[in-house]
Symmetry: C4
Subunit: 274 residues, 4 copies
């Protein structure tokens, strides 16, 4: 509890950067979100030829200002935390780093203009918004339900992929190369477009037999979409029941935000269950 | 209970305009619905060039008759209620006003023919139909379920938007400008068209790598549609359980139509729960 | 129980035509299904120009044989039942009559070749197949669930229609006539194509603002599909609970096939619930 | 328990080929999966004209090596099991045989290059992967839920097919041959494309009445997709309740992997329920 000088400013900085309970912390987070969105909008506008020709130079300068800002922020994050390595290796830390890299890589690889597109990855940082909006309970809840579903959903996706490979190969046989099904990977692409009910129409069956097979693919796609829905609906209900059994706030210190698999309060250490 | 003369006609008018229990009230509501639908159909037909050339003048006159009718109705609504300001600021009151404005604005802004299209907003008034059909319980029930879902659905939509921005940017890199992905906003539009399984086909991938990325987008879209469905299904079940615990009609006066969060009867004031 | 001669053959005929417990009854139903499917396939093939030119006359003769067969069957149905009026006015009776009419109407209205297409309505009779497969319990169950959903689904459909009318009108404003949105009904058609995620691509937005509005329509369509699903899933669960409380077979005489709202056995009259 | 020499190597072979508990068994399964995937990728690449021209001969040789490997594997499977007939007639055995045949048939029917496409059926063997990943419980669970749904889903599919036949025939009447609806089967294909919300756009309505009918088809398709989803969601919940009542591991010997309809442990024979 006794704190020497450097620990003190570090603690304050930590509160501003990592927490959002204080007015300063909230302002920092809101400012960060505005910077992220602005920088994404610059990337988007810069990709439009007519706008790039007019404002290209301005965008270039803006981009470097953003890069500098995010770099300073990243350094502050490293400085204000006790175990910076942990932050660097945490999911949010990795995202923060990935969002920084493209700007710097473009210096060394001058031709690598294409790397600039990866600045769109900065948008991933937008999920910090949920910290502001007290959405953590809902996020934990949804994450739990999706975790429960992962195995069943992957069985479902493997089945769908197998169906598309086999039906795609059959369509390659039925409709010939002339009708757009020019090879098996192309036919599988068509089968995925069809079974997911996207249906671009860039490739579509022309022969009567091909149309019959396509109808079967569509009806399969139409019927099996029900399976992942059923799985996730079920797992949301299960996660909801689990959540209900767990108190949202600690019965001892009444603080919230516990993980769904927590047994003890992470603030006061007392049992979350009576 | 003792009522002076003016209060009396106002009360009767209120009964006709705002209630639908009496024959006159029902007739008023049915007449209003017919007027709304007719005026919408006139707007639609007037937009068809060939019909406009033939009947344009007739439609113009009809339109002003409708505008006059709806204005009179709006004034009567204001007159027949005790706190007209409350009605004006209520959701239904705002809709009624919005539905009136376009006709009048077109006088002042003569060029603003385009404003006439906003007369379609009158259709919003059609939801009054539910008052006639005793659908209020179902509406309350669905509204409650959707309210419970709002936070989870907005997390879902933000995630989908982030995915489309990032995958759209990647597609802009993979497929070049020549293949229709002419800038990042355009690519994001494509990603939304694909992930929602709409699939117009106005922009579609051409290179093998682009088709591969597109397949991934489709499968993601196909699998994550299950998430909002699961959320809403769950929240409907929760809302249903809440409703069951609440009696539909007051146990004291047996009148219905209470809000889902009501604790006391809004007619007689006694507790809705024993 | 004592039966005179005519009653006897009528009873036997009734058993063959209306029941499917006896071998003769089963054979009659299977034969009928084969006749229905064959006649539908003839209608389909006859509509293909190249096949019509070759076998048109043969199809014409086949068609009249089917018409004769179905007429005889209809008469037998009338004769073998005690209250023929009831059958004529029952849903199945009306379908049987509608399936007969097109053939005869084409005699009187010689130009009305188009009426022949209505012979496809015969396919409606195919639902008799479920009598054979003991699907009645499942059908009753699904019908009950859908009945519970009717009001909520109609609120949903009215909401979707209102959204499409308003968004269609806005798109008519945003994208001009030149871009395919030639009038409001056309724009509404586009909005329905988009919100249901069908996405033909015959009309698609061209201006940036139009693409933005379209993206909003798609995301709305993508998110609200969850609503009817949630409603029906919930009502299936409710119908299932109701069914569980009701015994499938009568506890007194153990015969099955009771309506979901039955309180007493329709065969022996004893209560279905203890 | 006492085993003569031949029984011994057969038992060991069985353990390697059919089980995946031992390191050797696991390695065998992983190797098999790699071989299957490689052979599928060769089939895919071979169908691309430009790649076939370059590496066609190499692919031909690779293909024969794979055919030899899978033949040896099939023979080993027959040899290492006590009742080979049972394996041959089991679902996995039939798949293994089907995956072998195309290579050999192409020797006898030299023109039948098209048969080579059926080598894609080898992918069906990929479901062995689940044995490795301990997905058996999830697979049993999903299979059980789908089994419960079969009857209801088939009622649903028959209803959808009837709707598409009737609406397809009506569209053939409304839109004439000139607009792409050239015959009834074609119109039914269009109806399936539309009701499943695929929407290629290769055939789309042109007349106002046609567009109106199409809108109805789309809204029907949009609303009824909810039905199979509701059915499967419900049956997953039912299957989950059934599963919960059954212990996952035997209460006597604690081994897992019992079928969902098992009453006794298949390893020690004691009752799975107390």
């Amino acid at each position: 509890m006794a704190s020497d000088q450097p620990k003190d400013w570090r603690f304050k900085l930590h509160e501003v950067i990592y927490e959002s309970n204080t007015p300063a912390g909230k302002a920092f987070d809101v400012g960060l979100l505005i910077a992220i969105f602005s920088s994404i909008i610059v990337v988007m506008l810069d990709s439009v030829v007519s706008i790039h020709l007019k404002y290209g130079k301005l965008f270039n300068i803006t981009e470097w200002i953003f890069a500098a800002l995010f770099t300073i922020e990243y350094i502050l994050r490293l400085v204000s935390i006790r175990k910076p390595i942990r932050y660097v290796l945490s999911p949010l830390g990795i995202i923060d780093l990935i969002a920084l890299l493209p700007s710097y890589l473009s210096i060394f690889f001058i031709g690598a203009q294409s790397l600039l597109v990866f600045r769109a990855l900065r948008l991933l940082r937008v999920f910090r918004i949920f910290k502001l909006g007290h959405f953590l309970t809902e996020i934990n809840f949804l994450t739990q339900a999706l975790k429960n579903s992962v195995r069943k959903i992957s069985i479902f996706l493997l089945t769908v992929l197998t169906i598309t490979v086999i039906l795609g190969s059959i369509m390659y046989l039925v409709e010939k190369r002339e009708n757009g099904f020019s090879n098996i990977p192309e036919s599988i692409y068509w089968a995925i477009v069809t079974i997911t009910t996207v249906g671009y129409g860039d490739i579509s069956p022309i022969t009567p037999l091909g149309k019959f097979v396509a109808s079967v693919v569509m009806l399969i796609g139409y019927a099996i979409i029900a399976v992942p829905t059923g799985i996730i609906t079920h797992d949301i209900a299960v996660a909801s029941r689990q959540k209900k059994e767990m108190p949202e706030s600690c019965p001892s210190c009444s603080r919230e935000g516990h993980d769904s698999d927590a047994l003890f309060c992470k603030y006061c250490g007392s049992s979350l269950f009576k």
